[in-house]
């Protein structure tokens, strides 16, 4: 063909693509009819137009830095503060609200695969722990330990609040909260029965003193003394932590099969099974559970500070009927609280290209988490007490709360803050939680099948199921070649 010629530089045959040449090639393939069909042409034109539009359409450039968060109430709280910050500071920030699963996926994807991440992230305890799965240098958050120490923040904030964000001795986030736990009880029923809760110090006292209010199966209106069930993994965890047990020790070694855990689990199951059970199941965050709570099916429930807002929003009928009291201890003089939930703010490594980047993000994070105005808003809007000790004197925490029968609940939660148990940041937390929940279910089934409802009878089986759970978690940890490396370098065992 004429269109073919030799390229002058390389001496190779170069084919010029002309309409005649294309037609000739298509004819040789027998595709002329296909290519010239109006439908195919329409699709081709559409593709070309959309491709061109994508290429030409300007992508709006985003100014400043981005913060991802997954809690809508936090988003609402932060919005005005961020607007104020952007007015008064050179560095600008933008909040992006994601669903919790999306936030977790995007965070892990960014940290492990280098996909784009926000400059600052607010994450909850379990997703955050997953970022600590690999080697220490692979953690996608900036290590804040030295800065926290230099600025005295390790002392200024409630100590236990740092533990979920501290892995292998390094801290990767500023804590958002304390989340001490109390017991929310039906004061209308308890006080009508003439019961004085100040007489209660231990769980044993609690069930003994409240026993007259128990109305078991067959009663017209069943009523149980505590909202606790074998399937309530979060409640079981907080009770284990309260007793000094839990899933991991400070070096992130599993302690699932410890004596104290077996003792607590056996107690819990003895409360939940059998004809004389004292606990009932009114699940949280569900309409059915709320209905049971309103009906008085359970006399008391575990209440971390953030749960107060949920009760107020979902069960306004209980306003003025509830009161809070410290958790009964496991032994006299023991801990009267526990911990449930929590968030942190961290700075992503990918968002720090220069030292100035870090300083800007750090200043913003501190403003957002440590400012007195946030402490007030956090409490007013979300019922959450701040971990910043210097703000604990704010009179807002002494204000009586009508929903809780006029109690100064902020002060009550703050009084318990120093007692909050430390928690592990192990990436195996979720797995341990699941295996302990399995152990609880298996133990309850065993008790029902064998008609053993007494703590003493249940204890040996509790030790066995917890040893099994411990073994499963340990086996998964032993498989992790990255953690083994850390152990070799003196990190995690």
């Amino acid at each position: 063909m004429e269109a073919a010629s030799l390229h002058p530089s390389f001496g190779v045959k170069v084919q010029r693509v002309t309409p005649a040449w294309v037609r000739h090639r298509l004819e040789r393939l027998g595709l002329v009819a296909t290519v010239t069909s109006p439908v195919v042409l329409a699709f081709a034109l559409l593709s070309l137009a959309s491709f061109t539009a994508m290429m030409v359409w300007p992508i709006p450039s985003r100014e400043g830095k981005t913060m991802w968060l997954g809690a809508p109430p936090h988003f609402r709280m932060y919005e005005p503060m961020v607007a104020e910050w952007n007015k008064t500071h050179e560095s600008r920030f933008r909040l992006v609200l994601l669903s919790q699963p999306a936030l977790e996926r995007r965070m892990l994807s960014a940290f492990t695969s280098g996909t784009p991440a926000a400059d600052i992230l607010e994450v909850e305890r379990r997703p955050a722990a997953r970022a600590f799965m690999g080697p220490l240098e692979g953690v996608g958050f900036v290590d804040l330990t030295d800065r926290l120490r230099v600025e005295g923040l390790l002392d200024e904030l409630n100590g236990p609040s740092f533990t979920p964000w501290t892995s292998r001795g390094r801290t990767f986030g500023l804590p958002h909260d304390v989340h001490s736990v109390m017991l929310g009880y039906r004061a209308d029923i308890v006080e009508a029965a003439g019961i004085d809760v100040s007489q209660i110090e231990t769980w044993e006292d609690y069930f003994r003193i409240m026993k007259p209010l128990l109305q078991g199966p067959g009663s017209t209106q069943e009523r149980y003394l505590l909202n606790l069930w074998e399937t309530h993994g979060d409640h079981i965890e907080l009770l284990l932590l309260q007793a000094g047990g839990g899933f991991f020790d400070p070096q992130d070694r599993p302690i699932i099969a410890s004596e104290v855990n077996a003792h607590v689990l056996a107690k819990i199951i003895s409360w939940c099974v059998g004809p004389d059970r004292v606990c009932g199941d009114a699940p949280n965050f569900m309409a059915s559970g709320n209905r049971l709570k309103v009906e008085g099916y359970v006399l008391a429930s575990f209440m971390p500070d953030w749960m107060c807002g949920i009760y107020r929003g979902e069960m306004p009928q209980l306003g003025g009927k509830l009161k809070l009291m410290p958790l009964p201890a496991w032994e006299r003089g023991g801990r009267r609280t526990s911990v449930w939930g929590g968030s942190m703010i961290g700075i992503s490594k990918s968002g720090v290209r220069t030292p100035e980047d870090f300083e800007k993000s750090w200043a913003f994070a501190k403003e957002l988490y440590l400012s007195p105005s946030l402490a007030r808003t956090l409490y007013e809007v979300g019922d959450i007490v701040t971990p910043v000790k210097s703000h604990w004197g704010d009179p807002i925490f002494d204000r009586p709360d009508a929903y809780f029968s006029g109690q100064p609940k902020g002060r009550m939660y703050l009084d318990l803050a120093p007692q909050v148990p430390a928690r592990s940041s192990s990436p195996y937390n979720t797995m341990a939680w699941l295996r302990v929940a399995d152990a609880a279910t298996a133990l309850a089934s065993w008790a029902r099948d064998n008609q053993k409802f007494d703590y003493v009878d249940i204890l040996p089986e509790a030790k066995r199921v917890l040893a099994q759970a411990h073994g499963q978690v340990q086996a998964q940890i032993d498989r992790n070649v990255f953690l083994s490396d850390a152990a070799k370098s003196g990190g995690v065992p």
Binding site: E27, R105, L108, M133, P135, G138, L292
Partner: protein, 300 residues
């Protein structure tokens, strides 16, 4: 007159044309099926923390899998669910199809629509409905049974009887769907054979056993295979019904749910790939076994 073909075009290269037509599929297949399959095999031999941190661990993921009690729990639950689906759902579907194919039945189309409609509902929606139905104390099922026969309100469907609950939910969704396959197959059963059997003195049961069943066996085999594959891939229903968990004591844990938890909740993609490959091999073995059975019955 002979139809024109590519070969008639002077100088055409007909061997290239099929490849050109196949190329879109091949491209998609290579990118979205073949490459991920190969990559999953590579991953199953590794431990990873994102693509930047990978270690070759040989067959250790597979070794661990066979000693992992959770995997065996998941496999047992999946088999129980599959057998439950197979042994309850398919006979029920066939029975309903036969009822609806009864000559002279009034409103057959309406019943067919009613029975088929649950399969048009999304799994997530069905899961939400059944989560409310199976709730203890306040759930529709327990309350209705309590009022009629004094049933225990605390009967914990979604705690201690997860598999029966899952089978019931899937029955509601898929019985009508499978029924349509059987209806179509029943329509094609040869009337002359049925009449001949009747004239020879065969009763309804013998006609069903010796005429209807052999006639619909190719379709039945196909439905069995689809149901088994679908059952082994069970994920959304337990995941949503049990609030993103495997249920108390892992009673709702299925193989795919375990794969998901391992890969996306524990970030252990290597181990998840090993689970995926074992599941794939199980499905291949089942399919081959089913094909052999069908061929044998056809040959007989």
């Amino acid at each position: 007159m002979r139809a024109a073909s590519i070969a008639d075009v002077p100088g055409a290269q007909p061997r290239l044309a099929p490849w050109l037509f196949l190329s879109p599929f091949l491209l998609v297949f290579l990118v979205f099926t073949a490459y991920p399959l190969v990559q999953a095999m590579v991953l199953s031999l590794q431990q990873t923390f994102g693509p930047q941190h990978t270690r070759f661990v040989g067959l250790r993921n597979f070794q661990f899998l066979f000693s992992d009690p959770l995997f065996w729990t998941a496999l047992r639950n999946t088999v129980v669910y599959s057998l439950g689906s197979l042994l309850i759902q398919l006979p029920l579907s066939l029975g309903l199809a036969m009822l609806l194919e009864t000559p002279g039945l009034r409103g057959g189309r309406l019943y067919r629509v009613i029975l088929f409609s649950p399969s048009l509902v999304g799994v997530s929606f069905a899961a939400m409905i059944f989560a409310v139905i199976f709730e203890k104390r306040t759930g529709l099922l327990n309350v209705a049974l309590h009022r009629t026969i004094g049933w225990n309100l605390d009967f914990a469907w979604l705690e201690r009887h997860v598999m029966p609950a899952l089978i019931v939910a899937s029955l509601w969704m898929w019985v009508g769907f499978n029924m349509t396959y059987f209806s179509a197959a029943l329509k094609n059963v040869r009337r002359d054979l049925l009449e001949a059997a009747e004239i020879d003195g065969a009763g309804p049961w013998r006609r069903f056993l010796h005429v209807t069943i052999p006639e619909i066996s190719p379709v039945a085999g196909f439905v069995v295979l689809l149901s088994m594959i679908g059952s082994f891939q069970l994920f959304e229903l337990p995941y949503l019904l049990l609030n993103s968990t495997a249920g108390p004591g892992n009673r709702g844990m299925t193989i795919v749910l375990y794969l998901y938890q391992t890969g996306f909740e524990n970030s252990d993609l290597g181990y998840a790939s090993a689970i995926g490959w074992v599941l794939g091999l199980l499905l291949i073995v089942m399919t081959v076994f089913q094909r052999v059975l069908v061929r044998r019955s056809e040959a007989a």
